[in-house]
């Protein structure tokens, strides 16, 4: 936990930063560990939103019973785990 506290202290709020020579703004999430934390939280938030969105789409447009949806998640996880299981030296 001390590491997490340290990361939180270093974390600076995301801000849009203009970069010379670039026409678009860059999302700047801080430097070093703070940036890592920021990026990680953004990714976790993105994943959670994707989950909520997928759920909403299934309920709104699909005829998939919720229990099947949970089981479908298991299949997706299994495929993901399998694809990355041997990604080691």
């Amino acid at each position: 936990m001390p590491q997490l506290v340290s990361l939180v202290r270093q974390f600076r709020p995301a801000q849009l930063v203009p970069v010379r020579g670039k026409k678009h703004l860059h999302l700047h999430l801080g430097r070093g560990q703070g940036g890592l934390l920021g990026r990680s939280l953004v990714l976790a938030g993105f994943g959670s939103l994707a989950g909520a969105g997928a759920w909403w789409a299934m309920v709104r447009f699909g005829s998939v019973p919720p229990t099947s949806a949970v089981f479908g998640v298991g299949f997706l996880l299994a495929a993901l785990a399998g694809l990355t299981a041997l990604w080691s030296p």
């Binding site: 934390l37 994943g47 998640v73 299949f75 996880l77 299994a78 993901l80 694809l83 990355t84």
Partner: protein
Amino acid sequence: MIPSINPDVSGKRGSWMVAVGLFALGSTVSAAVLGAALGTVGSIVKPILPSKAAWTLAAASAFGYALHELSIFRLPRPQRRRQVPSGWRVRYHPWTAALLYGTALGPGILHYIEASTYYLVLSWAFLVGDPILSALLMGVFGFSQALPHLLAGWRVDSPEASYRTGDRVLSYRALAHRVNGIGLSTAAVLTLFGTFLR
């Protein structure tokens, strides 16, 4: 693992395809056997297991391990820190070795565990509590382990090229963990919604 296994399946395209197929066969069957065993145990304890609490715990674990995969904090990753025997590559015919490696690596519990997503797949197989569905679930895990070999080794024509390809694949290791983090956080939310918004 990818650079270690691929030299066995390098060589002529036809021979290589057979080896990858045998690897996939061994991996799928052995993982499915573990899944069936987990599903059987799960079906026995299912009547006494508080379903909502168990699925909530699974969702919380999924989110916790998502943060682990995204390097926010560390969670324990119990595993057997062993590798598959490298001697099989020289001792056996490449096809036999590919089948043996697939069988040994398929269940995932006999060697290093790279991605935490694996623990959630095991818990899913257990909580589903149906031997056939759990075998299917773990079978998907086992089969998916063969796909990176298929993709990474497609243009490999020598052991040297195989090691080079393996190094290139490993350069995406951090990305693989991030993708797992996103997948786990997605799964956590979907599971919670599926458990409580029925």
